[in-house]
Symmetry: C2
Subunit: 143 residues, 2 copies
Amino acid sequence: MLKDQKLQTKEWVNALLREHGINATAQRVEIAHALFCRGRHLSAEDLYDIVNRDRPQVSKATVYNTLGLFVEKGLIREVIADPSKTFYDPNTAPHHHFYDVTTGELMDIDGDDVAISGLPPLPADTELEGVDVIVRLRHTTAY
Amino acid sequence: MLKDQKLQTKEWVNALLREHGINATAQRVEIAHALFCRGRHLSAEDLYDIVNRDRPQVSKATVYNTLGLFVEKGLIREVIADPSKTFYDPNTAPHHHFYDVTTGELMDIDGDDVAISGLPPLPADTELEGVDVIVRLRHTTAY
DNA sequence: CTTAATGCAAAGGCTTTGCAGAGAC
DNA sequence: GTCTCTGCAAAGCCTTTGCATTAAG
């Protein structure tokens, strides 16, 4: 999805939003564009700063509401690795994460190579929502 | 550790704290006792309520500071499953969790049976801090 | 007496909400 | 005109911090 850099245009984001049943307003395109262009894990605050770097164009409330909408529509995914903030991940394919507790940085682990065996059956009346693997690591050298 | 219910006494908690290099003050014993007796995953607020159920005896600041101290000393462990609050787990043995997004409940998955294969090597200059597997599930029936 | 621990209240950071105004159709 | 979206500010929650008080050794 992110392989072809030429596709990371506003028009492409526009289409992407519509594919997910989201009205492509200017603010939503800004936010989605910021997240998909970078292809990295960003917090709501990060995105707020990025989108408003040049001049104010999206309010904080809209950033939060929009990210919530994107998650609900399956366009992006939440990553819960740090208790103090939620990260948003433009990659919705199954994959996992390294979380660097020294820097707070989150890195992808390709899901294709990872297998988890020995999980017990789900409790009654429940369905699987997802499996998150977070490999926490710490710098050995001073940082 | 939790198998012998007779051991979940204040005296036992006292010894446990000292074994971990923690001064066994009255408040710390209260908090540790509440968490280890139940053997479940509780948030700081949960513990504050439990400890102060009958009469006020531990302040909120002390609950937070004490839980931080317990984590630092390796007596308990943090579980990050819900972006809105941190859970504390008296079980420090390797294991994983079911997280019920409908109820917010956290359940143990025994770590002995679970194997994860295919993880890439750690990035340079980092050491493993831990691997958390969180299986998110949702109720299929109305709740 | 000296150090450690506690408690209160205030402050902080992230996120959500209420509601009025602006925009889209 | 109606429905949707946005923005501001206020409020909410969980958590941390500063500092004076109290307890411990």
